[in-house]
């Protein structure tokens, strides 16, 4: 079964009535139902503390790392209809299919080469030729190849902030994920690096589906196909980006977008 929407776009993953509780009992998500379309960019916007990052981190079970957190509801990954929040599903399997880029560039204190190779290594890839090829491919995909091809053995910390973030994208890309999650990927970067990353993301959507959290509405308007507005753990509105930014159906969304609130 292939789920499609009215625009004939394919649903890659969707959350259904997703609730999330942190270990201290606070409910961070309330009945969030949201589709992520294949080869599209879906942006999550909303004031800080609205649960958009929490929602994003459900998609690769990052919350499993900290004891006491609890999911309630489903996130179905198509085409195999796996509920990735199911306790029987190994979070590691989920993370191998859905990769993530974080707010602050977080390369490992290893060489550029080893950073990108790491995802392949944990998948048991040992063939050096295969790894070399995939690293080149991933670095090209992250438009970093030209800058680093002569110094792959350099420590990743020696790169600039924007380069480090592109390295993290390459690292996430090397394992050919189905979905990539971006958690405010440009918030720690300067404007020029931000433009680079934005262009990069727009190019990436041919290969995979993207879910991005951003604190920056212009960014959402520039790069995304769909935008979801969240407030206090609830999904207020979700639609085509153009629609959200030009004629939102809800008053709260309009207030947030026009800057009256948030």
């Amino acid at each position: 079964m292939v789920a499609k929407n009215k625009h004939n776009e394919i649903v890659k993953a969707e959350s259904k009535d997703l609730n999330f509780f942190y270990a201290d009992g606070t409910q961070a998500l309330k009945n969030v139902s949201l589709p992520v379309y294949e080869n599209k960019i879906t942006a999550l916007i909303g004031p800080s503390g609205c649960g958009k990052s929490t929602f994003l981190r459900c998609f690769n079970r990052m919350h499993d790392l900290y004891p006491g957190n609890r999911y309630d509801g489903e996130i179905t990954l198509h085409p195999d209809n796996t509920n990735i929040l199911d306790k029987k599903v190994d979070p590691i399997e989920v993370r191998m299919r859905i990769s993530m880029v974080f707010q602050k560039p977080n390369p490992f204190p290893k060489s550029i080469y080893e950073n990108v190779a790491y995802g392949l290594r944990v998948r048991g890839e040992t063939n050096a030729r295969v790894i070399d090829e995939k690293i080149e491919e991933a670095l090209k995909g992250a438009s970093l190849w030209e800058e680093v091809k002569d110094r792959l053995q350099d420590l990743a910390f020696n790169l600039s902030g924007g380069q480090q973030q592109r390295l993290c994208i390459a690292r996430a890309l090397a394992t050919e994920p189905e979905i990539m999650l971006f958690d405010e990927p440009t918030s720690a970067l300067d404007p020029i690096a931000t433009v680079n990353i934005e262009e990069l993301m727009s190019g990436l959507k041919d290969k995979l589906s993207i879910l991005i959290v951003t604190h920056n509405m212009q960014q959402a308007a520039r790069i995304s196909d769909y935008t979801a507005y969240m407030y206090l753990g609830e999904l207020v509105e979700h639609d085509k980006t153009d629609t959200i930014f030009t004629k939102p159906s809800k008053k709260e969304t309009e207030d947030y977008i026009t800057g009256k609130f948030g």
């Binding site: 990954l77 085409p79 195999d80 191998m96 299919r97 189905e178």
Partner: protein
């Protein structure tokens, strides 16, 4: 495309989880080893001390002031050893607490960054000096020096080793107390300076009270170290049990008694052998009670600030 990549992953999942569990269990066992050591300490001391206390009444143990388990006329008054332990500890603290506190305040509030970065490694190096060497200092250098001031001082006395022990402990107090003073938020200092306080006023009236729990912890650590210190007193205080609090006399401490027995021919299972475990148990209880008092004091202060 995804289905072909999942199935081998799923096959791997079971063995991977098993290995992960085994590793976690192995690590847990290593960590639990610490509990095992504590249990073993208590078990060994208690099980060897029980036969001792079947032979010696607790009343005698705590009231008799003569300790001669290895003589023909046997007495088992632990006070003769406790007095030596307390006297040397007191002398050491008398030296170490003022010097250590002044050093800590100076390093934390007065010294420039460069001075601090120079002095702290030196203090750390001093912490690493083995106690047997400090024992040599006490016997061969400090006591002869003291004898020049006070000619009646015997070769073995509690004053020399007590002072040396104090010097040895200064870096411990300084480093723990300094850490807790540095941990006081800068905002507190700024608050004091903004009121027109000088460095000294800030250090004494604001920083010291705020860091008091760490400073108390440093003192407690110092007491524990002094009570448990062995080689300095074994070398320089003499090893004859002597119920006295007079620093110029020679005396044995609990620890130096254990050393002196261990150095001789000790008959496994004899009363002499058991006596060192009874002494060890007393020592452990003393350090434990200091630690508990320290813990309570820290909690009390922590509540107030």
């Amino acid at each position: 495309m995804s289905e072909t990549t999942i199935s081998p992953q799923l096959a791997k999942k079971f063995s991977r989880n098993l290995i992960e569990r085994l590793i976690e269990f192995g690590l847990l066992c290593s960590a639990a080893f610490a509990v095992l050591i504590t249990a073993a300490i208590v078990f060994v001391l208690v099980s060897e001390a029980i036969p001792f206390f079947q032979h010696v009444s607790l009343y005698d143990f705590f009231t008799d002031t003569v300790w001669t388990p290895n003589y023909s006329i046997k007495h088992y008054g632990i006070l003769a050893l406790v007095s030596g332990t307390l006297t040397t500890t007191f002398i050491a603290l008398f030296v170490a607490i003022p010097l250590g506190t002044i050093t800590a305040i100076y390093l934390s509030e007065f010294a420039s960054h460069k001075v601090r970065e120079t002095i702290k490694p030196i203090l750390e190096l001093l912490v690493g000096v083995p106690t047997v060497v400090f024992g040599y200092f006490a016997l061969m250098m400090v006591t002869p020096l003291l004898q020049k001031i006070y000619p009646d001082l015997t070769t073995f006395n509690m004053l020399g080793p007590g002072i040396v022990m104090g010097i040895m402990i200064v870096p411990y107090i300084a480093s723990v107390a300094e850490d807790s003073m540095r941990a006081v938020p800068m905002a507190m200092r700024e608050g004091a300076y903004a009121m027109g306080a000088t460095r000294f006023q800030t250090a004494v009236r604001v920083i010291t009270p705020a860091a008091i729990s760490g400073i108390v912890a440093a003192y407690i650590l110092a007491i524990s170290r002094a009570v448990g210190e062995t080689m300095i007193v074994a070398i320089a205080a003499g090893q004859q049990p002597n119920f006295t609090f007079n620093p110029v006399e020679s005396a044995a401490t609990i620890t130096s008694y254990i050393v002196s027995v261990a150095l001789g021919d000790l008959e496994h299972g004899g009363i002499g052998y058991q006596s060192i475990f009874a002494a060890g148990l007393t020592l452990l209880l003393m350090t434990l009670s200091f630690n508990i008092v320290g813990h309570m004091a820290r909690k009390k202060f922590a509540e107030r600030y």
